[in-house]
Amino acid sequence: MSFEPFILSFKLALLTSLILFCITLPLAWYLSQTHSRIKPFIEALTTLPIILPPSVLGFYILWALSYSSPVGAFFEDTLGVKLLFSFKGLVVASCFYSLPFMVQPLQNGFESLNKNMLEASYIAGKSRLTTLFRVALPNMKSALITAVIITLAHTVGEFGVVLMIGGNIPGETKVASVAIYEMVEIMDYSAAHIYSAVMLGISFAVLLSVYIFNARQSRRFGL
């Protein structure tokens, strides 16, 4: 049994969550604070990536990123990054389709914050950025955990898009979900069971520790 697919999977999930977190943080923050008329449009747009079936979405991403499209050409010629059939491409695609799972809980969390608390931070002379990191985020731990956990889990489990634009290259784009899928396809059920069990085991351990940590934390704050 090879651990490579698992490592790839978790690397992908972690990277995706991290990047997505950085990207969506300002977006979710903006959405939670604005009353602009375009807010519903942006909200609807950010939900769209999960409407299409993953493999179909993968199909379109494949098109968009291939050299014949301007996006793909730009990445390859200007930035020198080849996205298709590479780990980098997987990260980009994962970020795209996991977007709603990160944005929505974060926005929710921001919206349920006590507004006076944020204002108190501004009055203390702290910038929006400081307020975001030192006041807003620490006071919405459970929203934060939901956002990250759902994104992580969904990225680990997703395989439609990954399979499509990754090309199933061992060590590069053959993540655990794709590996297990392949085993089921060739009816190598016993291997599939083992891999699934390992996957579930590791994930359960990770999830459990996060949730236990969270429970401790909220007890500390006297919630």
């Binding site: 006076n116 204002e119 501004y122 009055i123 002379g125 620490p138 500390r220 704050f221 006297g222």
Partner: protein
């Protein structure tokens, strides 16, 4: 120092209400803001703090805080604000709440000492009582040694001993740092003790702008003592009637004649007066 001339539409108690204020406040003044519930006191403070927008102009010293559409962000207005609803940072201990504002451990300890919170500085806001939260909120507002201090009923949830203590503290700090202070308060003696000017709001307008003495002082020095009070009770003790009158937070019992006893009604506002010979203070 503070020149404020603003208007803002609000939903008042009886439909739409226009907040329209034109105030000048001198540097170092301690101003009381008083007035009926819903008259716009909190809103005024929030506009001053830059937390709410309004039409008009605000300038402080020689800086313009609000003009047309330009509004100086709250971060750059050197103010302290005690919120009516505390607004503590739930993720930080009491001490961290203070140090978040300024990393001045000495000042923090000093303030926590005064407010009798020192022993509990490692606790989180969720486990505090209402009055404890209010005290933390006051401490936090003072941490920045602000030029302008905005206090929204800062002592309402405190017992009278703590209240008096903090009043004195606020006064000391005010004098020490020459802080310009605006405080919402409903308590006349607090107003008199602390402030040098009272603004009374009603439905978004200033209906009174005077010295506390002008508003509160009932009688100028006189040979005749006069107090307003409330008649609480008329008791029959043996053959005479005794009236219990509340004057401020004190009670006085006064012997009444029969006719007085029947003509007075419980709950009535009464004037108690007496010829006083040589009142003495001791």
């Amino acid at each position: 120092m503070i020149k404020l001339n603003i208007t803002k539409k609000l939903h008042g108690a009886n439909g739409a209400m226009q907040l329209a204020l034109n105030i000048d406040i001198k540097e170092g003044e301690f101003v009381a803001l008083s007035g009926k519930s819903g008259s716009g006191k909190t809103t005024l403070l929030r506009i001053l703090a830059g937390l709410e927008d309004a039409q008009g102009e605000i300038s402080v010293a020689d800086k313009i805080w609000l003009h047309a559409d330009k509004s100086l962000p709250p971060q750059e207005r050197e103010i302290g604000f005690v919120f009516q609803e505390y607004a503590l940072f739930g993720n930080m201990t009491i001490e961290q709440n203070l140090l978040y504002v300024t990393k001045d451990t000495k000042l923090a300890n000093h303030l926590l000492e005064i407010t009798e919170l020192k022993e509990m500085k490692k606790r989180y806001p969720h486990t505090l009582s209402g009055g404890q939260k209010q005290r933390v909120s006051i401490c936090r507002a003072l941490m920045k040694r602000p030029k302008i201090l905005l206090l929204d009923e800062p002592l309402s949830a405190l017992d009278s001993a703590m209240r008096t203590k903090l009043q004195n503290e606020l006064l000391t700090l005010h004098k020490e740092f020459q802080t310009t202070t605006i405080m919402v308060s409903h308590d006349p003696s607090e107003i008199y003790r602390l402030t040098s000017r009272v603004l009374v709001l009603d439905s978004g307008k200033i209906i009174n702008d005077a010295k506390p003495t002008d508003i509160l002082l009932k009688r100028q020095g006189s040979q005749k003592f006069t107090f307003q009070g409330e008649l609480l009770e008329i008791k029959k003790v043996d053959v005479i009637f005794v009236a219990v009158v509340a004057i401020g937070q004190q009670l006085v019992e006064i012997a009444l004649s029969n006719s007085e006893a029947t003509s007075l009604q419980i709950g009535q506002k009464v004037i108690l007066s007496t010829k006083a010979f040589a009142p003495t203070l001791s």
